[in-house]
């Protein structure tokens, strides 16, 4: 039963990622694109966790943590760039 649920969930998260890519391509403004990338990051974390459950290993959790941290920092940096025109003043 877990296998079926796992496959369905992976399909849903991939569909979500595709919708995010649609918003990333379409825009229309820069904040929309940054928001789409941020959501893609969160979806990547979900996919890594699902991969870990599929393979029954907890090895990949560290990379999920790294993506979470880097995703947050890059979103904040891009938001700051959009607002101020530079990241480090």
């Amino acid at each position: 039963m877990i296998t079926i649920a796992l496959n369905l969930t992976i399909a849903m998260v991939i569909l979500a990622a595709l919708l995010n890519v649609y918003r990333l391509v379409k825009g229309p403004d820069e904040p929309d694109r940054v928001l789409a990338i941020d959501t893609l990051n969160i979806n990547a974390i979900a996919l890594i966790i699902l991969l870990g459950i599929t393979l029954s290993t907890r090895m990949y959790l560290e990379s999920a943590l790294l993506i979470a941290v880097m995703g947050f920092v890059s979103t904040v940096a891009m938001a700051k760039y959009l607002k101020r025109g530079s990241v480090i003043e």
């Binding site: 992976i10 403004d29 940054v34 959501t39 979900a46 907890r58």
Partner: protein, 110 residues
């Protein structure tokens, strides 16, 4: 693995996947930037949190250590989602992103 744990894991997985998808649908179909901000900050965070929780139950059910890293990731996402939403909203107000016509009130000038 007990049947109860299997049911719980499957239900949490499907719940999380559905919410991640709903967040993305919101991002794709809501009319303007400020309304799109609501989907990822709430639905997607809850979706990923629920997938994390199912992972914690799964690994403790097959007899590994209880995963504390998953909880750490969830807490981190819950703490950072509002901050990045706030930063993006400020940036959007600075650029002057258009709102839909039926929005009440105005964003502030930056």
């Amino acid at each position: 693995m007990s049947t109860l744990a299997e049911y719980a894991i499957s239900a949490l997985l499907l719940f999380g996947g559905a919410f991640t998808l709903i967040g993305a649908i919101g991002l794709a179909r809501l009319p303007d930037f400020y309304t799109r901000l609501h989907g990822p900050t709430k639905a997607t965070t809850v979706g990923v949190g629920s997938i994390m929780l199912s992972s914690v139950i799964y690994f403790s059910a097959i007899g590994e250590k209880i995963g504390i890293s998953e909880i750490l990731i969830t807490v981190f996402l819950l703490m950072t989602a509002p901050v990045s939403a706030n930063m993006l909203a400020k940036a959007a107000m600075h650029i002057g992103v258009q709102t839909t016509k039926d929005t009440k009130g105005k964003p502030w000038e930056q």
